[in-house]
Every structure is written in structure tokens, then in C-alpha cells.
């Protein structure tokens, strides 16, 4: 199974790099690496991979996410199921998402259109539809529900329902980033491609979403295109930007808390625009990918909603 890696399987190379092999094995692996350029290249690839992972998901940001999950009521693995499989459960059990928005410039090279037939390497065909596709958010109330305006004040435990207007865009992705830097994918809940959008009327997602105690704000992004696109690339960009904005999240929360409740009309923004103006401090650059359009919906969180940071 390990084929040409039989001599030095990956797990052993990992432990060599971490210097956690017994002394004899360390010496043995060192001889192999020094005497074999292919093995030396594998070791170097691991080092580069270390840098890539830590750059993409910095320790500070990961530490906060991990601590936050550990404080939560349950992890997916505790429940013996994956978050993806337990989409509904996750919605309500895990530290909810909230959102700063940032999907990223860094992701742009990763974005590729995907034909239905499936060549993921094809450049995305561009068909800008203008700033039309957008989200509609509703808050559950005792009377039924109320439509929220972009920039509306929200609080922990508010139950939010999503609708969207595709405005001619054929495929979409809804994600959010919150004031604690948590990125959450809402729609589609699984798969690597954006979901087909309902073209007629207003599309409704079949679930509601409960806000958690993430501070400051929650930003919801509706990324759309005329053709299927790679969800993972967009999500990765969101993670990177959320990580990069970690230190500014608190500042953003403070800014949001100090902001008056003035709401802005909701609408799609052209790519590359600043998101939500002064409501959110910190990086908020949106996607700037030809062919992808995005709109942003920001909820401000009540100032009392503070989150305990990682130890």
C-alpha cells in the first residue's frame, strides 16, 4: 500500500520531522534522507506544508476556535457524527456563526468554474449580472416573523431564517463570518460545488439559524455566479480572511457596539467593494473574482453579547 514509500512511510517521516522517533530510528531516517534525494524532497515538502498550514490557519485563530468548541455543549465527534451529517443539530448546538465578511483576494486563483460535466480546471466563465442577487433575512417572533434590514440589531438566540433572490444568477453559496472569527457555511451544507438557485420568485432555505454570543456583528455572504463554482475555494478564502482578521474582531465588535442602529438598504455590492461601511472594523474586503458576485448582509450584535476568548 505504501508503494515507493515503504522504505520511509509518511507517518515515520512526520515523526522524524517532529523529532519524536526513538534515537535509533532518528538516525536511520536521517541516513535515508541524506542518501536519497527523493526522500529529502519529501521531507522538504513536509516543511513547506507546515508553513502553508500555519499561514492559512494561524495558531492564534485556531486556538480561539478550538477553545470555543471545547466550551460548547458538544462536538460533532462527541455525538458520534460529523457536523455535515448533523447539519441541523450543528445549527443549534454548536457555537453559532456570525460574521465578518471577507472572502478573499487570496482565494482568487483558486476559484475555477466547474462545468456540469466536470472539468474543474476550466476558468470560470464570466457573466456579471449586476448587483442584484441578495439575501433576505427574517427573525422569528411570537407573531411569526419580521423581516430584518441590513445593519439591524440582533441578539444571541435570535432565530434567523434565510431567503434569497437569485436575480438571474444560477448558482450560489451562503456563508457567514462572525465577530469571533467563526466561519460557517450555510448553503449548500455539503458538497464541493455551489448549489443551484431557485430562479422564480424568492428561494427559501428550509432551516433557521440561531445566533450565538459572538460579539459585535455577524455577516452573511451570498456568493453567486452564472455557472457552478468551487465552494471549497471560497470557504478557504473565508477562513484565511477570518484568521487574518482575528485581531481586529474585537475592535470590530466595539465599533459595532458603538454604532447607531441606522440600517442600510440591502443589496448586492459589486465585487471588491468595502462591506458594510463603518459597521465593521477590520478587514472586510469582499471577493474580487471575475464571474462571482456577492452580496452582504450584516447584523449588528447587542453590545452585551460578549464572548469569552480563548485562554
Amino acid at each position: 500500500m505504501t508503494s515507493h514509500h515503504d522504505q520511509l512511510p509518511g507517518w515515520r517521516l512526520e515523526r522524524y520531522l517532529l523529532q519524536e522517533l526513538p534515537a535509533e530510528e532518528m538516525a536511520s531516517v536521517q541516513r535515508l534522507v541524506e542518501g536519497n534525494p527523493a526522500q529529502a524532497a519529501r521531507l522538504e515538502a513536509l516543511r513547506q506544508s507546515n508553513e502553508e498550514v500555519l499561514a492559512r490557519y494561524p495558531a492564534g485563530w485556531m486556538g480561539r476556535q478550538i477553545a470555543r468548541r471545547a466550551q460548547g455543549p458538544a462536538t460533532a465527534s462527541d455525538a458520534g457524527r460529523s457536523p455535515r451529517s448533523a447539519w441541523w443539530a450543528r445549527l443549534w448546538l454548536l457555537p453559532a456563526p456570525a460574521a465578518v465578511v471577507l472572502v478573499a483576494l487570496a482565494a482568487l486563483p483558486l476559484l475555477r468554474g466547474v462545468d456540469e460535466g466536470g472539468d474543474p480546471g476550466l476558468p470560470l466563465e464570466i457573466r456579471l449580472k449586476g448587483a442584484e442577487a441578495h439575501l433576505l433575512l427574517h427573525r422569528k417572533t411570537e407573531e411569526g416573523g419580521e423581516r430584518l434590514r441590513d445593519g439591524a440589531l440582533a441578539r444571541q438566540h435570535d432565530q434567523i431564517q434565510f431567503q434569497y433572490q437569485a436575480a438571474g444568477q444560477a448558482y450560489g453559496l451562503i456563508l457567514s463570518i462572525d465577530g469571533a472569527g467563526q466561519v460557517t457555511r450555510h448553503f449548500p451544507d455539503q458538497g464541493s460545488r455551489a448549489a443551484p438557485l431557485q430562479q422564480a420568485g424568492v428561494g427559501s432555505l428550509e432551516f433557521a439559524y440561531e445566533l450565538d454570543d459572538a460579539p459585535g456583528w455577524e455577516r452573511f455572504y451570498f456568493v453567486t455566479a452564472a455557472v457552478p463554482f468551487d465552494v471549497d475555494a471560497v470557504m478557504s478564502a473565508a477562513y484565511r480572511l477570518a484568521a487574518a482578521s482575528g485581531s481586529s474582531a474585537d475592535a470590530g465588535a466595539q465599533a459595532a457596539g458603538a454604532q447607531e442602529a441606522g440600517a442600510r438598504p440591502m443589496g448586492a455590492r459589486p465585487m471588491g467593494a468595502r462591506a458594510a461601511g463603518a459597521v465593521v472594523a477590520g478587514p472586510a474586503d469582499l471577493l474580487d473574482v471575475p464571474g462571482l458576485e456577492q452580496s452582504l448582509f450584516t447584523l449588528r450584535k447587542e453590545r452585551s453579547c460578549t464572548r469569552q476568548e480563548a485562554p
Binding site: M1, R15, Y57, M62, G63, I66, S77, P83, D232
Partner: protein
């Protein structure tokens, strides 16, 4: 325990493992965080003499759970090695109710599925698997023997 320091040192290895098994970036990230959450929650009970070994096994186990869940949801279950292993019942039914960590940290036996991946996929010898999971070689061999029949052709292919 400083989880940031732990992640700084071991996170890339865990992430690579999750990527290798799950083959989807976001799920791998999710699983990586789960691995460290498990560590963080049980930090008082852990003996972190060789964290890399422990983290590698936890990652393997959690990823197998996710693959199993995928298989259960799939309308067309995959027939690859990991998919086949992931949906197998452990040979010790009583393990099902135990938490991953309890098994991993010595009070209960290691998941046979994890041992199968370490041996058949990662290329560990029976001796190495035994050392990883704190069992005798004969014990590992016995546990894996039961899986061979279930895995059938897949194991043969993997071993070739």
C-alpha cells in the same frame, strides 16, 4: 496545556492527516479542530509523552467516523479502502458505546478500524501497530484477522 503551542507544533501534521483521509479541505479543517478539542477536554487525563502518535491516531479515528457518516448518507456508497473500513463494526461491540478518547487512552481497546488503517493504509507493521496502540502483536493480529474477510479484495489490492 497551551492549545496554541500544541497546534503550532502538531497542527500541520494533524491537518495533513485529515486532508489525506477526508480529501475535502473544510471537513479536514473541521476534523483538525475536533482533534484538538478532544485533547483540550481531556488534558488532565493525558500522558503526552509522544503527542504525535496520539494526535495521529485521534485524527485517524475521527476521520473514519466522518467517512462512515458520509457512507451512511451516500446514495452510492464508495468502495474504496477507507470507505469499507469506516463502515465496519468494531470487532468488540461493547466499544461502540465508548468514547474515542477512552479507547485511545488505555482504558479500553483501540478501535480495530484505526488499527486497520494504520496497518493496511499507512504501512505500519503489526509490531508498529501494536506499539502504537499498546497491545500485543498477537492481539493486533487477532483483531485484524476478523477484518480481512470483510475487507476482502480491497485489502488484497492495498497490500499489493
Amino acid at each position: 496545556m497551551d492549545v496554541e503551542e500544541l497546534y503550532q507544533r502538531y497542527g500541520p501534521m494533524v491537518m495533513r492527516r485529515c486532508r489525506q483521509l477526508l480529501r475535502e479541505e473544510n471537513e479536514a479543517l473541521d476534523a483538525t479542530q475536533d482533534v484538538f478539542v478532544q485533547i483540550l477536554k481531556r488534558r488532565d487525563r493525558l500522558e503526552m509523552t509522544h503527542p504525535s502518535s496520539l494526535l495521529y491516531r485521534i485524527a485517524t479515528n475521527l476521520c473514519l467516523n466522518r467517512i462512515r457518516d458520509r457512507q451512511r448518507r451516500a446514495t452510492m456508497p464508495g468502495d474504496g479502502f477507507l470507505e469499507r473500513v469506516a463502515v465496519l463494526d468494531d470487532t468488540e461491540p461493547r466499544l461502540e458505546a465508548r468514547s474515542v478518547l477512552e479507547r485511545l487512552f488505555g482504558r479500553h481497546q483501540e478501535s480495530t478500524r484505526t488499527m486497520a488503517v494504520l496497518h493496511f493504509q499507512d504501512g505500519m507493521t503489526l509490531e508498529e501497530v501494536a506499539g502504537e496502540v499498546g497491545m500485543s502483536v498477537s492481539g493486533v493480529r487477532k483483531r485484524l484477522r476478523g477484518l480481512r474477510a470483510s475487507l476482502g479484495e480491497v485489502v488484497k489490492e492495498e497490500e499489493e
